[in-house]
Symmetry: C2
Subunit: 220 residues, 2 copies
């Protein structure tokens, strides 16, 4: 049976992606630890695998360099969501690293398709979420594996609000997803991803079940 | 000053590459451990960094899947160098993984150029050593980093013999390089890379200083 290996962080996008892929094919999940402070999200990926009753690997990468998300002493920005401030949350080349390893794992298992939940809302800050990255990297992976692997990124032109609408239609329980860059038990409600999360639920017209420490602030 | 981050295994190709790059720019070395049985090669990379007096990182990756080079119980082939036998030594997507991580490290350090020693002799077996891989992957890395990183693979159209000739001109001491897939103190002289190494010295007309346990066998 055809399978898809889904890169799953435990956040909204990859959770909806896993439900979406599971509609068509068998899925396996893989989660990457790369020294992110918000490693709590990985627990949500594990719980996701249990709900879908699929296999799940957590792969330890080296702690990646050059980002507020991984560097002790560089604070994750809150309450200023301009491009310049948010750029400290870029982990250089993270998606290429995760996809390269996932492709390797997939080929070794005879799985052709590797799925990732990059989406339109991240294009302005994260270059490795853009359509041109997906296009060029997919070509490189196809070449590197003699056609044994392809990248599936069905959300690349969708907004996060559209992903939430798709997830709602698939009965995804969004309370079982985690996005916050602060990595505390509740979502902080102040960091860039918390703000994006709030906005996306509002724009989608879908109830947001998230427990935020600071529920009221919303910018943009 | 312009710098190049060289992916250095400790073998002939990346050693000559490091000497070559050091002619033009400052270099740093990075070596990857991915569960290879022939981890001895990393010691040669460390010694190379000491000879060049440059910084050197050894990055621990997860043990990669699906190759005789990393899987206990699957033997590294010897004495049969046809494509089918040698294909068990393919580590799926290895170069994409190493380059993705090296690019991430380079960008975090403000280094633009990442060099790798892929060459023409490996094209027939390893798809991630071919010019089309280098071309497509370079494009993807350029896109993923908004032009902050480029791949430099100057040997992609050269044979190993030509690399050895170039190394001889740069006074590389080839006794200080290690290729053998068996990972023992001496080169075995029987595995695919030992055979390639012997052939390349012969074809280059350069003296081979390597200590082989089995010096006489040479196929092709």
């Amino acid at each position: 049976m055809d399978k898809t290996l889904v890169v799953a962080s435990g956040g909204i996008d990859s959770t909806v992606l896993a439900y979406h892929c599971a509609e068509f094919k068998a899925v396996e999940l893989v989660t990457f630890r790369y020294g992110q402070k918000h490693v709590r999200e990985a627990e949500y990926a594990t719980a996701l695998a249990e709900r879908l009753n699929v296999s799940h690997d957590i792969v330890m990468l080296p702690t990646l360099w050059g980002s507020a998300l991984t560097t002790p002493g560089i604070e994750v920005p809150t309450r200023a969501y301009d491009k310049e401030t948010m750029s400290s949350t870029v982990v250089p080349n993270r998606n290429a690293i995760m996809l390269s390893v996932a492709v390797s794992m997939a080929v070794a298992r005879g799985i052709r398709e590797v799925a990732i939940g990059v989406h339109g809302g991240d294009h302005h800050i994260y270059p490795d979420c853009r359509p041109i990255f997906v296009a060029t990297f997919t070509t490189a992976m196809y070449v590197a594996t003699e056609g044994k692997a392809e990248i599936y990124a069905p959300f690349v032109y969708l907004t996060k609000a559209q992903i939430i609408q798709m997830g709602a239609a698939l009965d995804v329980d969004f309370a079982q997803t985690y996005s916050c860059y602060q990595g505390k038990p509740n979502h902080c409600g102040l960091c860039g991803t918390c703000n994006d999360r709030k906005k996306a639920f509002r724009d989608a017209g879908v109830h947001d079940p998230t427990l935020y420490d600071c529920p009221d602030l919303l910018e943009g």
